[in-house]
């Protein structure tokens, strides 16, 4: 039997995957490109990004300012060569998206408008109202339709990477509609599968974000970098975890505790200005501080009993009422609709209840600035990758830009690699057979396993939050590592009662749970090993930053016995020596 063979195969059809596909189709139209995605590309989680995408375009801004904000925001764990390259390419990428039709919000003169975001010295966030990710994803998807060399495998679930002769040469996948197990060979593979927010109980992330690509790479022997750095977004709706964008604060929204006090002033984030002051909101101050610091402030307020507590859990208030109905409708209409729908609050008249919520993984598959992983033929881009430009805490609105800059770069590198290498389809197919047999044994031809999916998933997310939440300590982290180790044994025998081949979502849930457990394990072990506090990784037992020992990237490798081994890689420092993170001064 012959299997499909492509020059470049992209796993995931979100922002990074589509940008990579278009880059290859435009520059090397002779290559065949496959986009294999477990959901239709326009369903990908890029769609949920709201506030905006950063790039220097205004005269008062500069590339150095963007570098500064990014590196300081990342608590000096960013690779500075990568940041500089990223900042340089960012304006070109966002302009490119404009040329493809993205409906960016505009100034009266017709130029692209920018808004402020947390941790920015100068405002530089391009936005399309408060549905930026949605518009970027749909623009990319609709643009991708015009390129014939791009072949889509919509609703195909990748469950394995095939490594042959020391190179990644394809994937093993399930066509969900028919249940057919199909190997697809490729000269190069790019992982663009997004993050893993779903390994936490309370997250802005969509159901599809289970760390698929991270686990696939990790199992194939590629290290996961900086996995302990998990961004809590300070403003999610209690109960559902649905995101209320940072743009609500960029436009002037304020955070209040249960006493009506703008409590951020008590956490070294500056002095508040009156909401009617023309200088409100102040950049890099108060509500426009970085996300990690704002989420940590909530934790302390809760410890001292200053937050609201009722059936919804604990929360504070995000107040945008002073912006007025007109501005709210024009600048943050989605915030209004979302708060109304899911919290029963009309933010024109009442404050919105919010609390910190897991939002983004700074860590991911280790890549260089070309998107290449240490495994030849395997590339990664977007949230599933770690270059690293995000360091210990990502600057808000850098992630959408990252999808474009590194999606394109990974596409170009993979295309170049594909031109130089061949693929051994027969060997790939015979190797994939064993993997396929295992899947079949899970449902169609095997016995029902023992482990209940929902129960194990609940146990997993509870333990990650318990040990690896906003504040961490050794004892709890060790306990979490232990629980995950037990769960790892249990996911080997999951109970799949659905025996059908057609669109078997229970089978894919089981496979996703395996991904989640591997990703959570790398995260917990990396966090247990980093005995300092930096950015989003805060240790109650090691409250200080320790540059001598830990200004290095953690690298989680999978050992022969399946357990993680953590070692370190030096951070690239060029022009920005480590300093203090100062906000509100």
């Amino acid at each position: 039997m012959t299997i499909p063979v492509h020059d470049v195969l992209i796993v995931g059809g979100g922002g990074a995957g589509l940008r990579a596909a278009i880059a290859i189709a435009e520059t090397s139209p002779e290559l065949s490109v496959a986009v294999v995605s477990k959901v239709y590309p326009m369903r990908s989680h890029t769609v949920s990004a709201e506030g905006g995408s950063a790039a220097v375009i205004k005269d008062e801004d500069s590339l150095d300012h963007h570098c500064n904000d990014t590196i300081g925001g990342g608590d000096w764990l960013c690779d500075q060569d990568a940041v500089e390259l990223f900042v340089n390419e960012a304006p070109k990428e966002l302009t490119q998206l404009e040329h493809w039709g993205c409906p960016w919000s505009r100034e009266p003169d017709g130029s692209v408008a920018v808004r402020p975001f947390g941790g920015m010295k100068i405002k530089r966030t391009w936005f399309a109202a408060d549905k930026t990710g949605f518009h970027m994803l749909h623009t990319l998807f609709q643009t991708s339709l015009k390129y014939d060399p791009v072949k889509r495998y919509d609703e195909w679930f990748v469950f394995d990477l095939i490594v042959q002769d020391g190179r990644c040469q394809g994937v093993a996948a399930i066509e969900q509609k028919t249940g057919r197990l199909q190997t697809i060979a490729a000269k190069a593979v790019i992982l663009c599968t997004g993050g893993a927010g779903r390994i936490f109980p309370f997250t802005t992330n969509a159901a599809i974000k289970n760390g698929d690509g991270m686990a696939l790479a990790y199992r194939a022997g590629v290290p996961l970098k900086d996995m302990e750095f998990v961004q809590y977004h300070p403003t999610g709706l209690p109960g559902t975890g649905i995101l209320i964008t940072e743009a609500s604060r960029g436009e002037g929204g304020i955070l209040l505790n249960k006493h009506g006090r703008r409590y951020l002033q008590d956490h070294d984030l500056g002095t508040p200005l009156d909401v009617n002051d023309p200088n409100h909101p102040q950049l890099k101050s108060m509500e426009l501080g970085p996300r990690d610091r704002l989420s940590q402030a909530f934790y302390h307020e809760r410890e001292t009993g200053n937050v609201f507590e009722d059936a919804m859990g604990t929360y504070v208030h995000l107040d945008v009422t002073h912006l007025g109905e007109k501005k709210i409708n024009k600048k943050i209409p989605f915030v209004r609709a979302t708060a109304k729908n899911y919290a029963g609050v009309d933010c024109v008249h009442e404050p919105i209840p919010v609390r910190p919520v897991v939002h983004y993984m700074m860590g991911g598959v280790h890549t260089d600035i070309h998107g290449a992983t240490p495994l030849p033929g395997l590339y990664a881009a977007g949230e599933c990758a770690c270059v690293s430009i995000n360091g210990a805490n990502r600057l808000g609105s850098n992630s959408l830009t990252e999808l474009l800059v590194f999606g394109r770069r990974a596409g170009a590198s993979a295309a170049a690699f594909a031109k130089e290498n061949s693929v051994d389809a027969d060997a790939v197919e015979s190797q994939a057979q064993a993997r396929a047999d295992r899947i079949k044994s899970m449902y169609a031809e095997g016995k029902e396993g023992e482990g209940a999916i929902a129960e194990i998933r609940d146990a997993l997310v509870d333990t990650t939050e318990e040990g690896a939440g906003i504040y961490r300590e050794q004892k709890k982290l060790d306990a979490t590592c232990e629980v995950i180790r037990e769960l790892k044994a249990r996911v080997k025998d999951l109970k799949v009662t659905d025996r059908s081949k057609t669109f078997n979502t229970q089978l894919t849930s089981a496979l996703e749970l395996e991904f989640m457990v591997d990703t959570a394990e790398a995260l917990a072990f990396s966090a247990a090993a980093r005995k300092e506090s930096r950015g989003a990784h805060q240790r109650l037992d090691h409250p200080e930053r320790d540059d001598d020992k830990y200004m290095r990237h953690s690298m989680a490798h999978r050992k022969e016995d399946g357990d993680p081994k953590i070692d370190y890689l030096d951070v690239v420092i060029t022009r920005w020596p480590p300093g203090d993170r100062v906000y509100g001064k």
């Binding site: 017709g110 609709q142 029963g344 057609t502 669109f503």
Partner: protein, 259 residues
């Protein structure tokens, strides 16, 4: 404030609500059936929460699509008591204590249970050419196209489509004859036609102005009623008809072909 969510727990612990769910397994069934489930009733729950509860606790084989649970990914459209809705924003409280019947979106082939086959729409997007074809090509070095807020406003509504397919489910014309290009694809075509940067209206007219395009529409208007993003596809289609008509009249009155 937040009365909806705040008054839930406490007394509501034992309340339940009945869901009647359309089930169809192509490997075994020749006809669909309806399975009935008693689901805990919580005031802040949406229909999707109830389906997830069934899948986790009662029947792991229940099959449906979902992802973002915040009404933007467009995955979870289904018929809720006969109306096309996003189940992530269709609240149980709007139906309680009556039972809720959940079915796959009407007018589409059913792959399994609540999962529809939407291949047809994906092809139609390509047919309509839902991408920007610039009037004047521009180099990246020259920066962005200028587009005033007023020019942006002209197409902005039509760019809000999340491809959730609710409009196709509301459109009897599509239900009777699926060769109709349909509301969402036509609205997206119009989105680019109205974009000040685009110059390919004539190219798209091959499909948009064809018998299967805007002229197939009988202006039921239901698409705009059910659209969760206020895209107003019916409006886009009527604008297409007006444009087609004026172009036709001009071509007759001005035989030298100016448009």
């Amino acid at each position: 404030m937040a009365s909806n969510a705040a008054t839930t727990n406490g007394s509501g612990a034992e309340k339940t609500i009945t869901l009647e769910v359309f089930r169809y397994l192509p490997d075994e069934d020749s006809e669909p059936r309806y399975d009935t489930y008693e689901v805990p009733y919580k005031q802040e729950w949406v229909v999707l929460d109830a389906l997830n509860w069934i899948k986790d606790n009662v029947d792991g084989s229940l099959t449906y699509r979902w992802s973002c649970r915040m009404a933007v990914c467009g995955s979870c459209g289904m018929m809720v008591n006969g109306e096309p809705e996003l189940t992530c924003s269709s609240f149980l409280r709007d139906h309680y204590p009556n039972k809720i019947r959940v079915e796959p979106l009407s007018h589409f082939p059913v792959m399994r249970d609540l999962v529809i086959n939407m291949d047809d729409f994906m092809h139609k997007m390509e047919d309509v050419k839902t991408w920007l074809i610039p009037k004047e090509p521009r180099n990246l070095e020259d920066g962005e196209y200028r587009q005033s807020p007023a020019e942006l406003a002209e197409y902005k509504d039509f760019s809000m489509c999340i491809n959730c397919m609710l409009c196709y489910s509301a459109c009897p014309v599509y239900g009777l004859d699926s060769t109709f290009v349909g509301p969402a694809a036509l609205a997206l075509g119009q989105r680019y036609n109205l974009d000040s940067r685009d110059g390919a209206e004539d190219e798209r007219a091959d499909v948009i102005q064809s018998d299967h395009g805007v002229w197939h529409c009988t202006f039921v208007g239901a698409c705009s009623k059910v659209c969760p993003k206020s895209v107003d596809p019916a409006g886009a289609i009527q604008m297409g008809k007006v444009k087609g008509t004026t172009d036709w009249i001009k071509s007759k009155l001005l035989p030298w072909g100016s448009k």
